[in-house]
């Protein structure tokens, strides 16, 4: 009856789902079934709950009400609903960035002594970008820099400093459209304001405000998060790691970190090597401490330390169902509320750490940057203590894991391509110009039980690299492809087209580059700006033969990322189900057609990975033609 292969292409996932079925444990897949049918009004975006005259619904068949009580039509309602999601997504990323900047501020005042300035070059470069005199002491620079970074959130006028990283032409487009973000918090608030009852009724204008808000995330909050994390936690370097549920160890105390903000999990990594704790683990009968990650916290500690990844978004429940997890420590975002009940079916201790994200009745150990290491140690101690409670008969870890190489950043890519002493993007640009590489693709985003888990990510990426498209990945998408063995250099030989293969072999990189967590999508933006700076591929981000895709998206954050990519001139495809805008033909056409003329990028909705690849390749070829590039070398 249950077709596990339809639920996921990942064997480890299938095995744990079988165990769950046997033990009558419900997962997201089961809950999705219980939710059927999902409300058509919601899916089409024509349900408005903005004010108390509603909820109102527009009859999509044109017979009943075509406007809400206030008079808002389908265009306004769908645009407002979408705008709110953009604002929420931007808030999540940007608030993450704020916390990281705040940690830098504490560090500069000597309060966050467990952290340090670990990437001094990046630190100084960033300070220079903010016009700070770098001849001062490190502490003084950090003080001034963190102040300026935090000011980006509260700024009322002018523009975000990072906008200057974009090519001149792109900046002009933003200025012309009046979508240059002024202050991170301001853009979120202003967007939310426009969506309340009786403010903005022009769907095009609502989307414009949405684009500006999304830019304040991509070129603001997310970029701050990435850059400051690199400074205080260290910039990633290519690193080998392992992925999938098989990284959980039978005889060890398994601590799983899950969520998005790496500030605390970084300390957990440090503490997991503490000889005192190791001794404690041994005395509890375990062979050692085993740390693994889920979602973007996993990506962060993978990128910087090669900590194994237990799985992506849809595997968070499965990790607990293996019965081998002593502690699942969570911070913020993408943490399923279902974890609480699930953990109570096992010995697993769920620990919340962030004051913004709590569960009723769940152990809460609040993280404070001032006492970071101490908190991390306490969490691990709880894990060790809990090891004795593990029911060995219920432990069933699927023996599947895969190697991967992660840790690519815009700086590292420079060095790999050009060498340490003449770091440059020239070889990359040259490869695209000569046609050895067809172009670039960013494949990012979540999982969604509405479609076969990991299938869209991996099928799409395989098809892209087969056609000589170098794929840049972040988030759960990167984890999906890593599990299928696409993130090892050897994958080039098996899956990549001849041109991409030549490049991968020459510089020793996988055909799919793991750039980190979802906030690290900002790395893609800066890398693209460097490509334009290097020359030969046009004057604007929209000129680059590149495309983006979130094949299995579910989060509001994905919508915001999509919007800042489109606002940066990128053609972006969304899989799973489309944005809830189909109830308005006007808005849907605006997003999928008209926007290209306006910002250079546009959306596309598609529910077939091979078709997605076809569309992305067609777009890349269109851009190659516009640049008058030579035909692709091997096609």
């Amino acid at each position: 009856m249950d077709n596990f292969k339809e639920k996921s292409i990942d064997i480890a996932t299938q095995e744990v789902l079988k165990k769950a079925k046997k033990e009558n444990i419900k997962t997201a897949w089961d809950r999705l079934e219980l939710q059927q049918p999902q409300c058509g009004f919601g899916q089409l975006g024509i349900c408005c709950t903005v004010c108390n005259m509603g909820p109102c619904r527009i009859d999509p068949f044109g017979e009943g009400a075509q406007v809400g009580v206030c008079g808002a039509n389908a265009d306004t309602i769908t645009a407002r609903n979408l705008a709110r999601k953009i604002a929420v997504g931007a808030s999540a990323h940007s608030d993450h960035g704020r916390d990281v900047a705040h940690t830098l501020s504490l560090l500069s005042e000597g309060h966050a002594h467990d952290y340090g300035i670990l990437d001094i070059d990046k630190f100084k470069n960033l300070a220079l970008e903010f016009g700070i005199d770098v001849s001062k002491t490190k502490e003084q620079i950090a003080k001034e820099l963190s102040k300026k970074l935090l000011e980006e959130f509260g700024k009322q006028e002018g523009e975000l400093i990072f906008c200057k990283r974009a090519p001149k032409k792109r900046q002009q487009i933003w200025k012309k459209l009046n979508i240059t973000p002024r202050g991170i918090d301001r853009e979120v608030v202003e967007l939310l304001h426009t969506t309340t009852m009786g403010v903005d009724n022009d769907y095009k204008n609502i989307i414009n405000t949405g684009l500006r808000c999304a830019l304040s995330d991509g070129w603001g909050g997310s970029m701050i998060a990435t850059d400051v994390q690199d400074i205080i936690l260290g910039s990633p370097l290519p690193v080998r790691g392992k992925v999938n549920l098989g990284v959980l160890k039978q005889d060890c105390v398994n601590i799983v970190v899950h969520g998005h903000e790496p500030i605390l999990s970084e300390m957990v990594v440090k503490a997991s090597k503490d000889p005192e704790l190791l001794k404690l683990a041994k005395s509890a009968g375990a062979e050692g401490l085993n740390l693994a990650g889920i979602c973007c916290t996993a990506n962060e500690v993978l990128m910087r330390h090669g900590i194994p990844v237990a799985g992506n978004f849809l595997q968070q429940e499965l990790a607990i169902i293996t019965g081998a997890v002593e502690v699942m420590m969570v911070d913020v975002q993408c943490i399923m509320p279902a974890l609480q009940e699930l953990a109570s079916c096992f010995h697993t201790k769920l620990i919340t750490t962030n004051p913004k994200a709590r569960f009723p009745g769940v152990t809460h150990i609040e993280f404070q940057p001032q006492k970071a290491y101490e908190v991390a140690k306490k969490i691990i101690e709880l894990g060790i203590e809990n090891f004795a409670n593990r029911n060995k008969e219920r432990v069933d870890i699927p023996q599947h894991e895969m190697d991967l190489v992660a840790g690519f950043t815009k700086e590292v890519v420079f060095q790999i391509l050009g060498g340490r002493y003449r770091a440059t993007y020239e070889p990359l640009n040259e490869a695209i110009i000569s046609g050895r590489l067809r172009g670039l693709a960013g494949v990012v985003g979540c999982n969604n039980p509405k479609q076969t888990h990991d299938y869209f990510h991996t099928t799409l990426v395989k098809e892209l690299i087969k056609n000589d498209v170098l794929v840049l990945q972040t988030g759960c998408s990167a984890i999906a492809c890593a599990k299928q063995g696409l993130l090892i250099p050897e994958a080039a030989k098996t899956y990549a087209g001849k041109g991409l293969q030549e490049i991968c072999e020459a510089v020793g990189i996988p055909p799919v580059l793991h750039l980190g967590s979802c906030v690290d999508n900002s790395r893609i933006l800066t890398a693209a700006s460097y490509i334009i700076q290097e020359g030969g591929l046009g004057e604007d981000l929209a000129d680059i033969p590149a495309a983006g895709c979130a094949p299995e998206w579910m989060s509001e954050k994905a919508i915001t990322i999509g919007f800042y990519f489109v606002a940066s001139g990128v053609y972006t495809i969304f899989g799973a189900s489309p944005f809830a805008t189909l109830g308005s033909k006007n808005l849907t056409d605006y997003l999928t057609k008209d926007l290209e003329e306006i910002v250079g990028g546009r959306f596309e909705f598609c529910d077939d990975p091979l078709e997605m690849a076809k569309l992305m390749i067609a777009h890349i070829d269109k851009k190659r033609k516009a640049l008058n590039l030579k035909p692709v070398m091997y096609s």
């Binding site: 049918p37 409300c39 899916q43 999509p60 068949f61 489309p578 189909l582």
Partner: protein
């Protein structure tokens, strides 16, 4: 003979049954495509609201159907075996007499195609689409029973 029944108390008026009905009678059978179809599929079922209750209404396939009597083109017949009022589209002249005489307002005119639409119990499917679509189980598909209305 299976019939559609409704537990009115359970109906929250989300109109999911309407959408499912329109989709079931569309060409594509897909929510996201249905709105782009040339001839818009219409729901055969409507959720009507009266006082504080919602009433999903569709053709009851009456045993003494006055719509059949009213049809001047003999496009409507009552099939005793199937227990259903059947509609022959090729004979229908679009006079809307059936629409007018139906005591339940369960026959609806599709003005564009000039053909009335009514519940056909999703005859090609195991059960009508509205049954599955109802998130609260207010739509019930079961063998005909005698209900004591005096209670």
């Amino acid at each position: 003979m299976k019939q559609l029944y409704y537990e009115v108390k359970k109906c929250l008026g989300c109109k999911s049954c309407e959408i499912a009905c329109a989709i079931a009678h569309s060409v594509s059978g897909d929510l996201f495509k249905v709105l782009k179809e040339e001839v818009l599929s219409l729901p055969r079922k409507k959720v009507l609201h009266l006082k504080d209750k919602n009433y999903p209404v569709s053709c009851r396939h009456c045993k003494a159907p006055i719509c059949v009597d009213a049809c001047m083109a003999a496009a409507l017949i009552f099939d005793k075996e199937k227990g259903m009022v059947l509609h022959d589209q090729t004979r229908c002249v679009g006079c809307w007499m059936c629409v007018m005489v139906c005591p339940y307002s369960a026959i609806r005119p599709n003005i564009k195609t000039k053909i009335p639409v009514r519940c056909d119990k999703c005859k090609d499917k195991d059960e009508p689409s509205c049954v599955k679509a109802c998130p609260t189980g207010a739509v019930i598909w079961q063998e005909e029973i005698l209900i004591d209305t005096k209670k």
